[in-house]
Symmetry: C2
Subunit: 160 residues, 2 copies
DNA sequence: AAAATATGTCAGTTTTGTTGACATATTTTT
DNA sequence: AAAAATATGTCAACAAAACTGACATATTTT
């Protein structure tokens, strides 16, 4: 009963099934710190442009999937349209994103980054990318594949 | 010029060094989705207790490191003390966290979770822990070690 | 023609963060 | 002992980013 090790390293995954001390506080915490510092990377650039992290996410995804609609973006970000409206409007007004009426469905607005938008997306991603590259390198060969699979598995299954 | 593959899987790490298209959009995005859904897990429980994600973080860390001081917590969360004050006060008033005057330095307030606080921390961590366990299992043997190392490497070096 | 959909917008609220200023108790330094 | 530094708390104003609810417009589907 006494003398339980304070460090729940590896045996947790195997020993208990769905019982008492199965809680994986360790990785929960590592994820928090990793994400905290990862998202802090672009802050310097964001401050210069006067944007926040919400703008960052919008520019990133529009840049990654040119032509995505407003509905697509809402589904990706999991926020309300009123919430998206403000940052999107600011990005459009500042010339980082432009809208094109959907060619099939003219109710839709397809979103594209401008040249400035592409440059911003790249600048914001750069320090994050460097952090990832360094972390992968330190972790060792094959890390990239494992990490990719793990992160993909952490995501909710697509609803469709 | 044309026909560049849309998918930047593995060669990115090797081929280019610090050049043009080195940006690792793929893992940046996987991290976003993983964290988005991971942090969404406890929302149902948080809604019931009337707390938000800020409260979650506080309860989590106090629970993990009993006796930590307010300064420790501020350093962990990287927020201002005024910002912490509100959620911490609510948690103390609701009986989830209690303060004890530091035995060495009586200016300090050591923080502890109450029994209710421990239960809350556990309940909040449970779905997250399950998600992690499932993701690791799907990823394959050895994933846990690699993921742990990667996440730890993603964190900023401790300032000290 | 009616209903549904995609988007936009107005108005008000909440959560979570910020800055700046100042108060109190306690410890450390001079 | 007095002065300075430190740990915490608190007041007040403000900002970013989310939320809800309601309603308008254009377009497509039924």
């Amino acid at each position: 009963m006494p003398g339980r090790p304070k460090d729940n390293t590896d045996y947790l995954t195997e020993v208990v099934g769905e019982d008492e001390d199965t809680i994986d506080f360790e990785i929960i915490e590592l994820l928090f710190f990793a994400y905290r510092d990862f998202t802090g990377d672009p802050d310097a650039i964001l401050e210069k442009s006067g944007f926040g992290r919400a703008h960052h996410r919008v520019v990133h995804f529009v840049n990654r999937e040119p032509g995505m609609t407003v509905a697509d973006l809402l589904d990706t970000l999991k926020i309300t349209k009123q919430s998206l409206a403000r940052v999107l409007k600011q990005l459009i007004d500042s010339g980082y994103i432009r809208q094109v009426t959907g060619p099939e469905d003219r109710r839709q607005r397809m979103l594209y980054t401008t040249e400035e938008g592409k440059a911003l997306a790249r600048a914001l991603a750069e320090p994050q990318s460097r952090r990832i590259a360094e972390a992968l390198a330190k972790t060792g060969p094959g890390a990239r594949e494992t990490v990719k699979r793990f992160l993909a598995n952490m995501k909710n299954a697509a609803a469709d």
